[in-house]
Symmetry: C2
Amino acid sequence: MADINVLTLSSRPLESGSATAEHGQAQGPAFDLIELLFFAYRDFIGDADEVLARLDFGRAHHRVLHFVNRHPGIRVADLLDVLKITKQSLGRVLRELVDNGYVVQRAGPADRRQRLLFATQKGEALALELALLQTRRFARALHECGGEAREAARKFLAAMIEPSARADVEALIARADREAKNRPR
Amino acid sequence: MADINVLTLSSRPLESGSATAEHGQAQGPAFDLIELLFFAYRDFIGDADEVLARLDFGRAHHRVLHFVNRHPGIRVADLLDVLKITKQSLGRVLRELVDNGYVVQRAGPADRRQRLLFATQKGEALALELALLQTRRFARALHECGGEAREAARKFLAAMIEPSARADVEALIARADREAKNRPR
DNA sequence: CGTTTATGTCAGCCATATTGACATATTCTG
DNA sequence: CAGAATATGTCAATATGGCTGACATAAACG
């Protein structure tokens, strides 16, 4: 945090002399990328918002349902850890998902204090519908970019994640994929 | 403890074979990309959050300050249009920015009903500090990806934007860049 | 002149998050 | 086994940042 001021005070972006050559923005703020990510994420989220609104659900419900569906049997504590919210915040949202039959809770087989979370068929269907909407947006975008775009996008997005958290996120994704693969349907 | 410590750092097992050849995952949801974007955006936003929290500002203040700084003299109505919020929502946030000396309002020279918005030097400094934090994240990520990554990322992010809105966003960015270039400092 | 426009403001509501305190099972441990 | 620790739930109060609706004011426009 100490070096923030150094950068702030020293680098005057985009001097009028058009000194920014070639690929530009070597030192100035990447306003274009910042704004593109802002708008891209808004529209990415917007896909799901429309469907959710019809069910009187919000983004909070989406996040919970998504991770419960991706990690069947996830413990409440782990879900809180992934979402980085408090149990009080999770409370209402989870109750509504349970009350409306999208999620069920079952006591842990070994540790009966645990309330393991599972998406019901209904919950699974909704999670899939939402994921497919967003997948379609990715597919369209990547198709426009062509070729190696998928792997490039994957790498880029992973690189944007805080380095200290990246391994955990990658592991989380890998584990969910692996478990899904081994889950008989 | 809530460990998500599954230590496999292996990248996603791509289905081998030619069924999902071209762009992979032709039919299934792209859970990996969805989650990577979720976590990437969270960390991207988190950079600014820390600074803002110290000033008792939130993301709403950031968004307003960002666009005011990028478009000096922007009208309230246009700001509402960019942010897609109501004037009532803008109200409190804008007042706090003005009260704390980050933004000033001036009557339009031609139409005195307008209250054109400008970032003060203080506001400009904060906007730049925040933008540079986020720029550093982009720079690190793009450096990791190497080569043509910046243009690829730009293209990808633009492609993720709702097609009907994309031209407007691109024009917005282009205009801000053009005006910044012609603005003498 | 009257209407429209640009903006502001008051009041109330909703969703989602927070902290803190406390309750209830259940498991673990000395 | 008793007591500590753990997993979860819940009540209450508060903050933030959205929303709608109604109304106010000043300036521009026709």
